[in-house]
């Protein structure tokens, strides 16, 4: 059993009278791919937005533990620090690339913070200090590494908005990986991909898990992706966790089957009688 990277405890998110997530607890273990699944409107993206700091949860605690033993309480951190300090990166359900910037520029923006420090908060950078040039070169090399992994080397100097949809998905993941995260949150990475692109994506995710010290938490509707690559699945329905375990366990859990396929409606049957 590997160690816990992120533990979510009693997470509750209310929007006015609506409880989107209700007393949710689960753990993301180090080096694993954890999938968060559930029918539409189950509150999966809300959980993501809480973890990455876009929402402040109404109740609950989210603790991220780094390998060096340092703990981060995500619910208390502003969103940009969750990426920069706690090293959580994310992608979006509707792709959010910097479409007017080139693919390479997108990957350099992702390395903003280390470069900002290297440029002496721009003051040294204006005078073209050598140490900054070296750091920038390093950043470009890092970007090239991820371009190769994502199979986008040929498009490095093209505007991101000009890429086909599948490439944009992979670029968004590559951009998130350029921030050197310990936890990568993917919001429906396979949505709208054809089988070929879907296979490319699986391959990319498997390399990330194999070669990097990055654990993955993903939301996905495409069960072929979920069952193939995830080690651990959490099922949500109406903001409540209904199942949690290995793919095989979840697949056969009657509660999951009921949530996805609907139960035989005993109550309505009774009403007819």
């Amino acid at each position: 059993m590997s160690t816990t990277l992120l533990s979510i405890d009693h997470l509750t998110m209310r929007f006015g009278g609506l409880t989107a997530v209700n007393d949710l607890s689960f753990a993301v273990r180090k080096g694993e791919i954890t999938a968060l699944i559930g029918p539409n409107g189950a509150g999966k993206t809300t959980v993501f937005n809480c973890i990455t700091g876009f929402y402040k949860p109404t109740e609950g605690m989210m603790t991220l533990r780094h390998a060096n033993g340092r703990d981060f309480l995500l619910e208390r951190m502003p969103d940009h620090e969750i990426n920069w300090k706690a090293k959580v990166a994310r992608t979006f359900q509707n792709i959010r690339l910097f479409s007017g910037m080139t693919v390479l520029e997108n990957l350099l923006v992702a390395q903003h913070n280390p470069l900002m420090v290297a440029s002496g908060f721009s003051i040294l950078g204006i005078f073209g200090v050598k140490s900054f040039k070296a750091k920038e070169k390093e950043a470009v090399e890092h970007a090239v590494y991820w371009l190769e992994k994502a199979g986008l080397m040929d498009r490095a100097d093209d505007p991101a908005g000009d890429l086909p949809y599948g490439d944009q998905r992979r670029l968004e993941i590559a951009r998130a990986m350029c921030t050197r995260p310990t936890l990568l949150c993917l919001d429906e990475p396979a949505a709208g991909l054809n089988p070929k692109e879907s296979a490319d994506l699986n391959a990319l995710l498997m390399t990330i898990r194999k070669d990097h010290d990055t654990s993955i938490l993903l939301i996905e509707h495409d069960m072929s992706v979920v069952m193939k690559i995830s080690d651990h699945i959490v099922v949500l329905d109406y903001g409540v966790k209904i199942s949690d375990g290995t793919p095989d366990f979840v697949k056969n859990d009657p509660k999951v089957i009921a949530a996805y396929l609907g139960v035989e409606d005993d109550e309505s049957l009774e009403a007819i009688r």
Binding site: L108, H112, G125
Partner: protein, 467 residues
């Protein structure tokens, strides 16, 4: 054309064919014009019918046809052919050859401009050309470049930019007329050079001050608050009479010195020190180079910053703010630096404006100024430095030149004053421009870094910013 003969024979063939084609057209014109234009029947003093030869009309018509036909085949009609064949051979080889040097040529022209104006129109006549055209346009270029950081790069729509211009101008005016004479009067001749950085810093401070409350606002809401900010500054300047002397403004502001040497007719003045005859044009030319240097500083800093992480963060902010936050970019400090640096250059320009005018009043800092600077940035193409230059020359210089068009009086009658139509022309020009080129004159975005090949990015991918 030697190059095109080696590289792309098609271009050379095109030129030869075009000349032949034009010659044929000229011949047709000649044949037509000889009976029609060349001879005219007229009556002479003795009421006799005579033939009056008018061969010069024929030559003019033939020349027009030749040149026009040649230009049309080379530049206009050739475009269609290029699209069909998808050939890289461009019709304008000359334009392509010049393009890399365009910036340098422009710079040399701008540096040489006051000397050329001086030698053509003399010391009296050239003041108008250097001051009204040169300095005025350069002030707007600098303001445009400053606002370009906020609007063009960071995508924050700022309708109150003139407020920072006012802060800069009043900083200089008040420090130079009140503070320095009261404390260290011996610094008098240096006051412009001391106040220039102070004005910039104060304007940057006000930029940050404006930035804080509008951080959470986007789009229309941001525009309205910045508009209000501009008006607040103007109304304070009007109503706080003890501070700014209200509508009456501040007069007798010290003029800039040549690094401590004043421009006057005295023994220690510029003319006496350098052993030349005193003339007010010296100061005008000096002012021209000061604003040119300030504007170039703005351009230099902008170009540098664009290639630094902060500049990329500005552009990323314009493209997608939420993605920025997910990548660990502190959007608060990024927006504030954009406001501060943009405002700082506005402050520099304001300081210069006060020193050049010698008199300032709140009348100079009305909303119309903000609108004009924004129009320059939008018309030039958001984020483009060269676009701002072109649109400043067109908008500011174009309006000035209307005052010079006296010959229009001969067409429209002596009561016609072209200067009164400038706003009408200005407005219709804007409408036409926005229909023809909705993304501005230079809509392409140049990438800040490239791996293999620098490719301009079409304006259709670049976002205008949402806040």
């Amino acid at each position: 054309m030697a190059e095109s003969q080696n590289g792309a024979p098609k271009g050379a063939v095109d030129l030869g064919a075009a000349i032949k084609d034009s010659l044929i057209a000229t011949l047709v014109m000649f044949g037509l014009s000889v009976p029609i234009l060349a001879l005219r029947t007229d009556q002479n003093m003795e009421n006799r019918l005579i033939l009056e030869p008018r061969w010069h009309y024929v030559w003019i018509a033939c020349a027009l046809v030749f040149v026009g036909r040649l230009l049309l085949t080379l530049f206009v009609w050739n475009k269609g052919a290029k699209i069909v064949t998808k050939k890289a051979a461009t019709p304008s080889d000359l334009a392509n050859a010049i393009r890399p040097y365009l910036g340098r040529i422009g710079l040399i022209l701008i540096i040489a401009y006051p000397m050329v104006a001086l030698s053509i129109t003399g010391p009296q006549g050239s003041i108008k050309w250097i001051d009204n055209f040169g300095i005025q346009i350069l002030i707007y270029i600098m303001l445009g470049w400053g606002l370009n950081i906020v609007v063009g790069l960071a995508g924050l729509l700022d309708l109150g930019y003139v407020a920072f211009y006012a802060v800069g101008a009043y900083s200089y005016a008040i420090i130079a007329t009140n503070v320095i004479p009261a404390t260290i009067p011996s610094l008098g001749f240096w006051s412009f050079w001391i106040c220039l950085p102070i004005s910039g810093l104060l304007a940057a401070f006000w930029g940050v001050l404006l930035g804080f409350p509008v951080l959470r606002l986007r789009g229309d809401y941001l525009a309205i608050v910045t508009l209000a900010f501009g008006e607040i500054i103007r109304l304070i300047l009007i109503n706080w009479i003890a501070f700014s002397n209200g509508y009456a403004g501040i007069s007798s502001i010290p003029r800039p010195s040549f690094f401590g040497i004043p421009f006057n007719a005295s023994d220690v003045g510029f003319a006496a020190r350098f052993g030349i005859e005193f003339s007010p044009i010296h100061r005008t030319i000096f002012l021209y180079y000061v604003i040119l240097a300030l504007a170039l500083l703005t351009a230099f800093v902008t170009l540098k910053l664009r290639r630094l992480p902060v500049g990329r963060a500005w552009e990323a902010l314009r493209e997608d703010e939420i993605a920025c936050r997910s990548l660990g970019i502190n959007t608060v400090s990024t927006k504030l630096t954009a406001f501060a640096i943009g405002a700082m250059f506005g402050g520099f320009a304001g300081c210069f404006f006060a020193a050049r005018q010698g008199f300032i009043s709140p009348e100079s800092f009305v909303f119309l100024e903000s609108a004009q600077i924004l129009a320059i940035v939008v018309l030039g193409g958001m984020g483009s430095l060269i676009g701002v230059v072109i649109s400043s020359i067109a908008l500011v210089g174009g309006i000035e030149i209307l005052r010079e068009l006296d010959f229009l009086k001969q067409v429209f009658g002596p009561n016609f004053d072209p200067a009164q139509f400038r706003m009408l022309i200005f407005g219709s020009a804007m409408v036409v421009m926005m229909l023809w080129k909705p993304r501005g004159l230079v809509s392409k975005r140049e990438p800040t870094i490239f791996l293999k090949e620098r490719k301009s990015i079409s304006g259709s991918f670049v976002k205008e910013g949402h806040g």
